[in-house]
Amino acid sequence: MNPRRSLALIGAVALTAAIAGCAPITVTSFTGQDVRVDNYRTYGWADAVDTGVPGDPRLDNNPFFHEYLRGAIDRHLLSRGYEPTILRPDVYVHYHASTRQKVSISDQAPATDRRRERTAEVYDEGTVVIDLTDARTGALVWRGAAESGLAGVVNDQTRMEEAIERVVGRILARLPRRS
């Protein structure tokens, strides 16, 4: 298959997936040096949670977004064996969310003449970062982050909640499970 046609096909498939609400999620995680995360048992929420969401006024200080995100983090931490407590937790949980626009450039299928045609695609991408810090020292113990397309997600509350569940699940799947 012509490489340009292949690229266009891949682009079309990615776009269709994004529109269908199953946008690809890129997940990264980091564990502090010489840290055994699963040695920590209990967690609590950091006092100051930043409810700003730079890049998207719809989500900035939006309680429906933040409450669902926080609930999803609770559910997935529990499922990994970590216990919530308000009294002297082992780690504090923090999160940050932001959105930004990104541009993807692709070569279109050849036009009828010999001109090259490149097209740009602008899309919104959301980032969620979850941090665990040692409650005693304040040192970062573990960080997980995910990026995902937001096409049609924020304007539909149910889809937004499904996306949060999916993203938080993928991030915390990287957290070592406590046995």
Partner: protein, 198 residues
């Protein structure tokens, strides 16, 4: 059937012309809601204090037409849905709004690109525009929590110099946002019921 096909271009051209003239505004609106809130018990509202997200753009913040239009449109929509503005008593709901202006990227329409690229290679093009987002929050005063947030988004650079157009777009946006506010049929019927005098 043939007649319908023949009419379609005329309808399309008419719609586009009306939209271009500002008569039809296709402003995307949406909302989030507290699904557990009982909207049937809300009867009164008041304006809440500004929060951490005031009207961020000075062209809007210092524009009395915009603020007046917005206040008027929200008052009118809430009252048409059966809510009364609280005077001395504690209101059931507090309403406040924020308007933000952000620079956003977009890809020009294909026809525009085609004109620019006639006879030569066509590079990818991205341009910027100013997007305005109007957010309305409704808080339950008893639980002190937001029970509904609605928003509308629209490009603004083509209307800031035209107060009448701003007013029309604000009223349209607020109306379409408030259509999503789940005020109960009971509240609506209160608004529509004829006054009974003894």
């Amino acid at each position: 059937m043939r007649r319908v096909h023949a009419l379609l271009p005329a309808v399309l051209v008419g719609s586009l012309a009306a939209a271009a003239a500002g008569c039809i505004t296709l402003i995307p609106v949406s909302s989030h809601v507290d699904r557990g809130a009982d909207f049937t018990r809300y009867r009164t509202y008041a304006w809440g204090p500004a929060d951490a997200l005031p009207v961020t753009d000075p062209r809007l913040r210092d524009n009395p037409f915009f603020i007046d239009d917005l206040h008027g449109a929200i008052d009118s929509e809430l009252q048409s849905r059966g809510l009364l503005r609280a005077t001395s008593e504690r209101a059931d709901l507090l309403v406040h709004f924020h308007a933000a202006v952000n620079e956003r990227l977009e890809v020009p329409a294909r026809a525009e690109r085609f004109r620019e690229c006639a006879g030569q290679d066509c590079p990818a093009t991205v341009t910027t525009f100013e997007a305005g987002t109007l957010v309305i929050d409704v808080l339950d005063t008893w639980s002190n929590s937001v029970v509904w947030r609605g928003w509308a988004e629209h490009r603004i650079e083509d209307m800031l110099d035209d107060p009448q157009l701003v007013g029309r777009r604000v009223r349209d946006a607020v109306h379409r946002m408030m259509e999503r506010l789940p005020l109960a049929a009971e509240a609506r019927s209160r608004a529509q019921a004829p006054e009974v005098t003894p």
